[in-house]
């Protein structure tokens, strides 16, 4: 039965994927049908399955957020019952935030008072970590790559300092950002696009079955 279920789920995924792709490719494009009478209606109808399926995805994702919150609560309730103090703090914070929001008719000041400062501070700590890491890179990686990393980091940082004396360095920094970094960024974008295509094809062919959980 499990095999049948697995085959059916793979078949459904394949069918839905193909239907969505065809709908997106052919739908809402009357020119594909020669612009003859009724081509607009045909194009509209072809676009319908893709729209419906994608809207269903959005609804499922929205529902999954609720399920995720519930799951998180259950996990921490279990951990708190076994004596985990941090889980108890999480649950208490959750309850207090809900109470605050409801009792104050949608007041989100807790977000500004707690979450934004904490996350901003964590982001600022990244500056410290990267700086200290940059200062120790040659100590742990005394090779050409480590040296290259240090040189590039220093050039880019110096280039961002608004001092007239550093204008030549800024020109070099701009070149680094415009050429090598841009090339790398384009390569990353190409890689992402190719990866997305490959992942989609694998999912359609049943090689990847993350949907089975």
């Amino acid at each position: 039965m499990r095999r049948v279920g697995g085959g059916m789920s793979a078949f459904v995924a394949f069918a839905v994927g193909v239907a969505t792709i065809l709908s997106l490719l052919l739908g809402d494009n009357p020119a594909l049908f020669g612009g003859q009478a009724g081509s607009e209606e045909l194009a509209r109808r072809l676009a319908l399955p893709g729209d419906v399926l994608l809207r269903l995805v959005v609804i499922v994702v929205a529902l999954s957020i609720v399920i995720g919150v519930a799951n998180l609560l259950f996990v921490h309730v279990g951990r708190a019952a076994r004596g985990a103090f941090t889980s108890a703090v999480v649950l208490a914070s959750f309850a207090f935030t809900i109470y605050w929001y409801v009792s104050r008719r949608g007041d989100t000041s807790l977000l500004e008072a707690v979450q934004v400062p904490i996350e901003s501070a964590l982001a600022a700590l990244l500056f410290l970590s990267l700086t200290l890491g940059g200062a120790r890179i040659l100590q742990k990686r005394a090779d050409i790559w480590g040296l290259l990393f240090v040189v590039v980091a220093v050039i880019v940082l110096l280039g961002s300092i608004p001092l007239a004396e550093l204008a030549p360095v800024k020109a070099l920094s701009d070149w680094l950002l415009a050429i090598p970094v841009s090339a790398g960024a384009r390569a990353i974008l190409l890689g992402i696009a190719l990866g997305a295509v490959v992942a989609g094809v694998r999912a359609l062919l049943g090689q990847d079955r993350a949907f089975r959980g």
Binding site: L54, A84, T86, Q115, A123, A135, K140, R141, A142
Partner: protein, 673 residues
């Protein structure tokens, strides 16, 4: 704690359960069916084989000429329920055993897993309730990577801790090895704090006050927003979380102020639920900054925070495909009253994001489908390199503004555009030859809904030279450089008994208060019937009064639209206090002349998509800019210190390596690995 749940035992127990218990329900039912002696029972696996031969799983079948060990892991996983464990490949059995008890691999297992052992690393999990950091133990390879990272960034090495002992941050904080890092961190913190304490520590130049010529997209973004009018809508996507708020809030604040100052209603959306809540707080901060002017932004009227867009890129796509439906519901789940049929009703799409991927999603899913709304991208500094590539290659993205330095330049341009300097009456004086542009003097008043033109509502100013800057109101009489009645003969014993000249709006329609005594001057705000203002001057022929506004600004109002009178300052202030006692909602509604019905569900506003005012300068002029320069100077100092630290640290490391202290065999983490 002795009754603690042990998931490892649970896994062991489940995997070693008798085979019939792991069959499916239908299989168990079939196995219970009576059968004739000597006849085999009908077993489900045969049915399964038939299904498989029918082609349901054809893409997973093994090629005929392939070896058994080439069968895919997915296929083996699927067959797990119907195959006994002993049928599994030997190496898979050893891998399974190792995953259950990783610390005791047998000699046979080590031999069988040769060359696979380093690839298929089994994570070791130690269940320790009460600890988050210490909950997961790491494999050898993972521990080596962690050690390398900790060596580089300067954390304590967990591997040095005794097994099962929790990592205590205090040990790292006060250990001798952490002292240099603590000193360096404290020095950095002190350095970046100095500009906030004193302006003597300013280093480097502030960003330019004008858009750099080498970045035409920057100016294009500003001009696109500046060209909006009160009848337009701007879609503002806030796509960043609290971690990026420190950098992007300044850009979001400027964009929203620019939009509000142009009288445009922003439609705020996001695929990030936290950003939805954060947007509300940003607008509250803007509201607080302009509170002194009597202006209050009203949710559902002056701006709309739309519902959350779940699904990432798909949610963004849904905004494009079902725009009319999305804009009907606010973030609080109530109706917005907006009747916008398509995205084409939006004149500008503003994206403020901390991720280059989000920029790509918006450009592909939304902007590409819009005929007349380009994407104005505002990103964090970290997202800029990749976003810039996309902005350069994509026709849908008009320009890219990024980082706090760009925010400063944008703010300077905004301030200059909206008159950071108080308006000079000289701007409204006659030209050198004593003539005026008759076209500019044509009355072009709008009605309450901002439609234009309408019948004459303000007189054309005469060519009489206007008075110079009028002195502010004091205990002395009101300015009398014109035919205005003076108040010199009125009692002025105390400030409260001081008599002042006031005007009261008598026009049944809204009256515009302008920056100067011509209809060509900018509109500062609107006045309602019955509003009173203190007169502080007039133009030469008395056709315009110069009045004091509540926010400390000065404006001009046409004389024929008001009645002049006198009162004591005490009475005048008392009347103003009474007016200000109205709720912000009431004041905004009265100020803007919109219909309000108090239903059982609270106030409801009509014509929510109608235009409102234009050029509400308070949103720009009343912006708090006191921390802008110190923040930029702190950034400069921090960058300088970081460069210094990196150079000194690595020079010392290089000297150490030359003196032979470095281990030449230590190649952990090198790119060759």
């Amino acid at each position: 704690m002795s009754e603690e749940f042990n998931w490892l035992e649970y896994v062991e127990h489940e995997e070693s359960a008798p085979e019939p218990e792991r069959r499916g329900r239908l299989s168990r039912l079939l196995s219970r069916r009576p059968c004739l002696p000597g006849r085999p029972r009908l077993r489900l696996p045969r049915l399964r084989r038939r299904f498989r031969l029918a082609g349901l799983a054809f893409w997973r079948r093994r090629p005929k000429d392939s070896a058994p060990e080439q069968e895919s892991a997915t296929s083996l996983l699927d067959q797990r329920a119907e195959r006994p464990l002993e049928d599994l490949d030997e190496r898979l059995q050893f891998l399974r055993e190792r995953s259950i008890s990783p610390s005791q691999p047998s000699a046979d297992a080590q031999q069988a897993l040769y060359e696979v052992d380093d690839v298929l690393v089994t994570p070791e999990i130690a269940q320790k309730p009460g600890g988050v950091i210490s909950a997961g133990a790491l494999s050898k390879a993972q521990r080596q990577q962690v050690e390398l990272l900790q060596d580089i960034v300067g954390g304590a090495t967990q591997a040095e801790e005794p097994a099962g002992r929790r990592f205590l941050p205090s040990q790292a904080l006060f250990s001798l090895s952490a002292a240099p890092r603590m000193i360096a961190a404290a020095a950095l913190l002190a350095l970046v704090s100095l500009p906030f304490a004193s302006s003597d520590f300013a280093v480097g130049a502030l960003p330019p006050s004008e858009f750099p010529e080498e970045r035409p997209g920057f100016a294009a973004v500003y001009e696109a927003l500046d060209g909006l009018t009160g009848s337009d809508f701007a879609l503002v996507a806030l796509e960043y979380g609290p971690a990026a708020a420190g950098e992007l809030d300044s850009l979001a604040d400027l964009v929203l102020r620019h939009v509000f100052a142009r009288g445009v209603k922003p439609l705020i959306v996001s695929s990030n639920p936290i950003a939805i809540a954060h947007a509300r707080n940003i607008i509250r901060a803007i509201n607080r900054s302009v509170a002194g002017s009597g202006i209050s932004l009203l949710p559902g009227y002056d701006y709309h925070i739309l519902r959350f867009l779940p699904g990432g890129a798909l949610g963004i796509r849904e905004l494009n495909e079902n725009f009319a439906d999305v804009v009907k519901v606010s973030a609080k789940g109530i109706s917005t009253g907006l009747q916008l049929d398509s995205l084409d009703r939006v004149k500008s799409i503003v994206l403020i994001s901390d991720s280059a991927e989000t920029v790509r999603n918006w450009a592909e899913q939304v902007v590409a489908a819009s005929d007349n709304a380009p994407l104005l991208a505002f990103t964090s500094y970290s997202a800029a390199p990749i976003a810039q590539v996309y902005a350069d290659a994509s026709a849908e993205i008009l320009g890219l503004v990024f980082g706090y330095r760009d925010a400063y330049t944008y703010g300077e341009e905004l301030q200059a555009s909206f008159g950071g300097v108080p308006p000079a009456p000289a701007n409204n004086q006659s030209s050198a030859d004593g003539t005026r542009d008759s076209q500019a003097n044509q009355p072009q008043e709008a009605d309450a809904m901002g439609e234009r033109p309408q019948a004459t509502a303000e007189p054309a100013p005469t060519e009489t030279p206007l008075p110079s800057a009028t002195p502010p109101p004091t205990a002395t009489p009101a300015p009398t450089s014109t035919a205005l009645p003076t108040a010199t003969d009125l009692p002025t014993a105390t400030a409260t008994l001081e008599t002042i000249v006031i005007v009261e709006v008598r026009s049944p329609q809204q009256v515009r208060i302008r920056r100067g005594p011509t209809t060509a001057d900018d509109i500062l705000r609107l006045a309602q019937t019955g509003d009173t203002f203190e007169v502080i001057g007039a133009n030469g022929d008395g056709s315009w009064y110069q009045i004091a506004l509540a926010n400390g600004l000065e404006g001009w109002i046409a004389a024929f639209l008001v009645d002049e009178g006198r009162t004591t300052r005490a009475a005048f202030e008392a009347g103003r206090a009474s007016a200000s006692a109205r709720s912000p909602t009431e004041r905004v509604v009265l100020e803007r002349g919109f219909l309000l019905s108090l239903g059982k569900n609270g106030p409801r506003f009509y014509q929510a998509d109608a235009p409102i005012l234009s050029d509400i300068h308070e949103f720009v002029l009343m912006r708090d800019r006191s921390q802008e320069a110190p923040r930029l100077e702190a950034m400069t100092l921090g960058t300088l210190a970081a460069v210094l630290l990196i150079v000194v640290g690595n020079v010392l490391s290089a000297f150490g390596a030359l003196r032979g202290r470095a281990d030449p065999n230590d190649r952990r983490g090198s790119f060759d690995d």
